[in-house]
Assembly symmetry: C2
Homo-oligomer: 150 residues x 2
């Protein structure tokens, strides 16, 4: 089991406090933050940290395979340090993203399915993402108080 520092150094990528900080934010949350959210959580401890650095850092961590990128359909992207296969669910009301362990993504992740898809499409398949969409418990409970109320 290699440390993050070892993984980075092995790829000739310098280990900096900013990079470690971004990774540690992602490692200790399951809220799937986007760049702006990561930046805001970093600010108290790293007041000098630049948003551009967060953009560059998530790019590097993604390329190295330490984090995964999620595209839940908001325009922007979200990040997750949990790289075990698992799927996600997006609340279309509040924009929250939660993990879904229930569905056996391993089954989708397996070689046999990838081969099946390759046979149909001709693509070399390397990754699969499963997204659910709906309304989270908190938003469902919320009494409707908007202009759209019936």
């Amino acid at each position: 089991m290699r440390t993050i520092e070892e993984i980075l150094r092995a790829k000739k990528i310098k280990v900096t406090p900013q990079r470690m900080a971004v990774y540690s934010i992602l490692k200790k949350t399951d809220t799937h933050p986007n760049v702006e959210m990561i930046y805001q959580r970093l600010k108290p401890d790293y007041p000098a940290m630049s948003l551009a650095t967060v953009y560059k850092t998530v790019d590097i961590l993604k390329k190295v395979g330490l984090i995964q990128e999620l595209s839940v359909g908001e325009g922007g992207l979200r990040y997750d340090a949990n790289i075990k296969p698992h799927s996600h669910i997006y609340c279309e009301v509040c924009g929250k993203v939660d993990d879904v362990e229930q569905y056996p993504l391993d089954e989708l992740q397996n070689h046999f399915l990838f081969e099946k898809v390759k046979k149909e499409t001709g693509y070399d398949v390397t990754l699969v993402q499963l997204y659910f969409f709906g309304k989270c418990p908190q938003c469902s409970m919320q009494k409707k108080t908007t202009a759209y109320e019936a």
Copy 2:
């Protein structure tokens, strides 16, 4: 079987040439274009058409349920008039999006799975999207001629 015009009028949405044109572009392609691509294909026949109108139109068609929106991880969004459950595959080299019929998305779309996910997450689940990622046949064949060549 209601016509698109009827569906729009039933929701008090006016039927305009621009809206019909956007829908017809999507109806006759399986390339999952984004807003800019739709705009470019529309231009020859509708030189006065504005990009803003395309943005507004896909939004309306999506809300009405005539088209679906895809988020393949480029940042932007793509559109598909095929609203039958099916999954998609994205070429990470050229950015092409193809349909995948092979995987039985119906199975994922079914009530039982939605209930299972609801039981775990508490979410009211309304939609599922399955995305594959990889390299398309054309890009695989392409002799590597970039600076990154080995």
